[in-house]
């Protein structure tokens, strides 16, 4: 088998500009996306998901955002290959609305989740926007069974009216190409 390449996925958008140093030169007054703000943001996001505040989570996304969980390692794009989840903004809204439905039988009983997020790095930044990479572990408990998901998350963060928003999010599960039971919880 071929040696596994260091994942440097081909994702839309990021330019080849230098990675912003941990404590970037951009002035705080300009509200640059420094590592601290990025870390706080993904921790906040994880907390919203753990607390099942899905509407608040959806509100973190821009109006033309997309959310993607590929089905293959190093998947080039969500259009030519199937994805465990690929939601444009419209479908993401529907997904979140469904999670609130009392007739979503795959959430009867509801899942409980617990996420650990870490290893946050800024991979690419242009002033007020940044692409960040993080690692996550998510435990899902439902109906006497506990499942473990882990992998790498990529966020494209932008700022709108002073607030950080997700322009896109890509979640690479380490076992994305394994046989998997149904996935109802966003990562």
């Amino acid at each position: 088998m071929a040696k596994k390449r260091t994942p440097r996925p081909k994702i839309a958008a990021p330019s080849r500009r230098r990675v912003t140093p941990l404590h970037g030169r951009a002035s705080r007054a300009e509200k640059a996306l420094d590592i601290h703000r990025c870390e706080q943001f993904v921790l906040h996001e994880a907390r919203l998901l753990d607390e099942a505040k899905f509407d608040d989570w959806l509100a973190l996304f821009t109006s033309d955002a997309w959310y993607w969980v590929p089905s293959e390692p190093d998947q080039a794009n969500p259009h030519d290959t199937v994805s465990l989840i690929y939601d444009d903004r419209r479908l993401l809204e529907t997904r979140i609305r469904r999670l609130a439905s009392p007739r979503m039988y795959s959430q009867e009983p509801r899942s409980r989740t617990s996420r650990m997020v870490g290893n946050v790095t800024i991979e690419d930044a242009e002033g007020r926007a940044a692409t960040i990479r993080s690692k996550f572990i998510m435990i899902e408990y439902r109906r006497e069974q506990q499942r473990l998901f882990t992998g790498t998350a990529w966020h494209r963060l932008v700022q709108i009216d002073g607030a950080i928003r997700i322009a896109w999010k890509r979640v690479e599960l380490v076992n994305c190409d394994a046989p998997l039971d149904g996935i109802t919880q966003p990562f």
Binding site: D80, T81, D88, R89, R90, R97, S101, R103, M104, P179
Partner: protein, 448 residues
């Protein structure tokens, strides 16, 4: 165990044990997956000499391989020496197969090529004995690129066994302007904790979407069409809304057809003006133009008017010709099943057509789909419920005794919510389990 399995299937009823008994499951693996024509894969998955695709026939690991002359073989993925699985990757290309244990090598058709240290074996060991091999599955046959195999030397030929269902494969191929299709776009592998048969018994169940999929129907109906879409979400939402068609739609417009050996399809469901390929959609207009140019207007019209939803080819493959999807059912244990789903690219169709197919696959077959996840939940609950002995006999009598004969030797349900396709599958089940070939007496006879 009594050899007559018809005792588990009565008029409009089936015994719960056939979904829960590990002994019955083991017999199914021998008598059904070891006897029937089992779908293996599509020829486009092994385009070049040396290409292989590793899969399972029931629980037996096999390889579909293309040899140097372009011939297709299905061989057991097992070394003749100590029985180790030889190929451990799902797909790839190899000039020969080498076992990782003691280095025995095999030709692409499974014949032995070399045995290291071969002087130490007894005199009666003959590496040229054709049975010292990665043994070939008894019979392998392709229907227009769809490769099937059976472990029986005799019995019906593939086309005889498929019968009228060949037309569903034809329909998928016909839809390609260039008359060729290929597997593309990756694979979903979704699992659930219940018997393999419950999956097949849901695929043509027209009475379930309105109830099981209520959450995604409601959520999609409430969705604003003003929200941004790149096109993929729109396709998903159209499909979810379609699931909300009222019972009257299923009872008057959609049909269920069944054929010998357990096969069936749900037909006259979507028309192309409703989904994926909306008639006003420029991509679909471009597709129709390509189809008309290659096939002529009349033939293009005929092709587009075929509206089959799931075509179930017993025991392990289901295709959606209209939407270029194919599902392969892999039984793992009596209460564990994994389903692999594939997409087909229509050659000569616009590139965007395939992207629409991928978006459709995500909502219909995706592991994280807003629709499929509720189906998987139902399968799990069937297994949990069946563990109770409360009701030993399950009801499959909807539409019983109201079937109509079909011109191609099948039976059509009185309407699409008839459970005739389940009764039809169970007739095949009894036939195979009793050592035959997928045919057994009418359920009415079994009941007497």
């Amino acid at each position: 165990m009594s050899r007559d399995f018809s005792r588990f299937v009565r008029a409009g009823r089936v015994h719960r044990r056939i979904y829960t008994d590990p002994g019955i499951f083991d017999l199914e693996m021998m008598n059904i997956f070891g006897r029937a024509w089992v779908y293996i894969g599509h020829e486009s998955q092994i385009k070049n000499p040396g290409d292989y695709f590793a899969t399972q026939m029931g629980r037996r690991p096999v390889l579909m391989v293309r040899d140097e002359e372009g011939r297709i073989h299905v061989i057991h993925n097992q070394c003749a020496h100590r029985g180790a699985m030889v190929v451990a990757t799902e797909k790839g290309n190899a000039p020969e197969f080498t076992c990782c244990y003691h280095g025995w090598t095999y030709h692409l058709d499974g014949r032995i090529k070399g045995v290291p240290l071969n002087h130490g074996y007894p005199k009666n060991f003959d590496a040229k004995n054709p049975k010292v091999a990665m043994n070939a599955v008894a019979r392998v046959k392709s229907y227009r690129g769809f490769v099937f195999a059976t472990e029986t030397e005799d019995g019906p030929d593939l086309e005889e066994s498929l019968g009228h269902m060949t037309t569903s494969f034809d329909d998928l191929i016909d839809r390609a302007p260039d008359g060729e299709i290929e597997v593309a776009g990756g694979v979903f592998k979704h699992g659930y904790d219940a018997n393999w048969k419950v999956y097949f018994e849901n695929l043509c169940d027209a009475a379930h979407p309105l109830f099981v999929h209520r959450s995604s129907i409601d959520a999609s109906q409430a969705q604003s069409d003003d929200a941004h879409t790149d096109g993929s979400g729109e396709i998903a939402i159209r499909q979810m809304r379609q699931n909300g068609a009222p019972y009257s739609f299923w009872e008057t417009q959609v049909g269920i057809w069944t054929y010998p050996n357990g096969h069936s399809y749900l037909g006259d469901y979507h028309d192309d003006s409703k989904l994926v390929a909306a008639l006003k959609d420029p991509v679909f207009r471009e597709y129709i133009a390509a189809l008309e140019q290659k096939k002529g207007k009349e033939e293009a019209k005929r092709i587009l008017e075929v509206r089959r939803w799931n075509s179930n080819v017993y025991p392990n493959v289901s295709l959606m010709s209209q939407f270029q999807q194919l599902r392969v059912v892999h039984p793992i244990a009596v209460n564990r099943t994994v389903v692999y789903t594939y997409n087909f690219k229509l050659k000569g169709a616009p590139e965007q057509m395939f992207r629409n197919t991928v978006a459709f696959a995500n909502i219909v077959n995706g592991t994280g789909s807003l629709v499929l996840t509720d189906d998987l939940e139902i399968y799990n609950r069937i297994d949990m419920g069946l563990s109770s002995g409360g009701a030993r006999w399950l009801q499959i009598g909807r539409g019983y005794q109201s079937d109509q004969p079909d011109a191609h030797g099948g039976r059509k349900g009185v309407n699409s919510t008839s459970e005739v396709y389940i009764r039809n599958m169970l007739e095949a089940w009894v036939g195979y389990m009793n050592g035959g070939n997928g045919l057994s007496g009418e359920l009415a006879e079994a009941a007497s």
